[in-house]
Symmetry: C2
Subunit: 173 residues, 2 copies
DNA sequence: TAGTGCATGTAATGCGTTACATGATTTC
DNA sequence: GAAATCATGTAACGCATTACATGCACTA
């Protein structure tokens, strides 16, 4: 069992509460997905691998043909090991920055348009994140809340940054 | 010819000045790589595809066995089209956030350690970016400089954010 | 009884990294 | 002449998405 990032995403959610593959996908889409996406094509095979490794156990549950998994003690231990694991390397992948990087080829006003588009991208994501917190539902645990705040704050920062830079570049031209 | 992100990275650099595959890799590692990495395994096959498409042309240059490519007019046109292209969707992939997200499983002080580790990750990347600007070399064009600033500012923001949140969480506990 | 959403899964494909193979040239 | 670096490339592998296939259950 060679763990990958999706391993921990699934195991972490199952440690919190038992879920089916379908539920996992929905939970991920509401939360984790904004900094780490996962698709069915990863989730279902990974559930099998995790069960073989003894880190989760599945049981046919409820009506329908749904199989509900829960984290085993061994799984919880592995999760905690990972949390203690190697240091953090910040890695980015941001196509919008790639575009900005080459914007010097364009006339000045079109180049500024790209900066504006980036700003709008941030605004859109900010709106999406805000819409996830409908106020109902129980309040999040501290670190789940922390990561949610990160998303909001990051977008807010990004919007301001783009606006500030746009003003700066306009002043010089 | 179905373009992908690495297509534009290469084409953009070649539009600026002619380079070999090896030079491209080095340029990418100094600049683009901080928000969009690329490996030889992508670069060399992509150079072939780009040449077949007529977007770049290669010539055996200099001494050694080096092949130097330059963007053709068709390539430049394609690049500009891409720059004008679809709107920007912000997509993230950040394993450190994934860890933070599950930190509630840990005792409070260890969880705060993860936040500190993230801060240190930002600090490390900030130092790396600063080290790239040795002051020598000609000054960057406006948008190349803009993206460089983004990296620095993002790291600075990230450091502050982590420190602020650490203080906040300590106050509550 | 037709449609929608629940639920599970796989196959094909594409993107990207790593590791390896090869050899020339410069520098010490 | 040994080491470092320049330089090009490929094969194997792994990770992830997309699209598709299947069928049940609820509801209008």
């Amino acid at each position: 069992m060679k763990p990958t990032a999706v391993t921990w995403a699934i195991l972490g959610l199952l440690a919190e509460q038992p879920r089916s593959g379908y539920d996992l996908k929905r939970s991920i889409d509401r939360t984790i997905r904004h900094f780490w996406a996962a698709s069915y094509g990863q989730i279902y095979p990974e559930l099998k691998r995790l069960e073989e490794a003894g880190w989760i156990s599945g049981a046919d549950g409820g009506n329908r043909a749904r199989r509900v998994y829960r984290a085993t003690p061994a799984g919880r231990a592995a999760l905690v090991d990972w949390l203690h694991g190697e240091e953090t390397r910040i890695e980015l992948r941001d196509e919008s920055l790639l575009r900005l990087f080459f914007a010097d080829t364009l006339p000045a006003d079109e180049a500024l348009g790209l900066l504006r588009a980036r700003r709008d991208g941030y605004a859109q994501m900010h709106a999406l994140l805000r819409s996830l917190d409908d106020g109902s539902g129980e309040p999040d645990t501290p670190f789940v809340d922390l990561v949610y705040r990160w998303g909001l704050d990051y977008c807010a920062w990004g919007i301001e940054w783009c606006e500030r830079q746009e003003r700066r570049l306009r002043r010089r031209s």
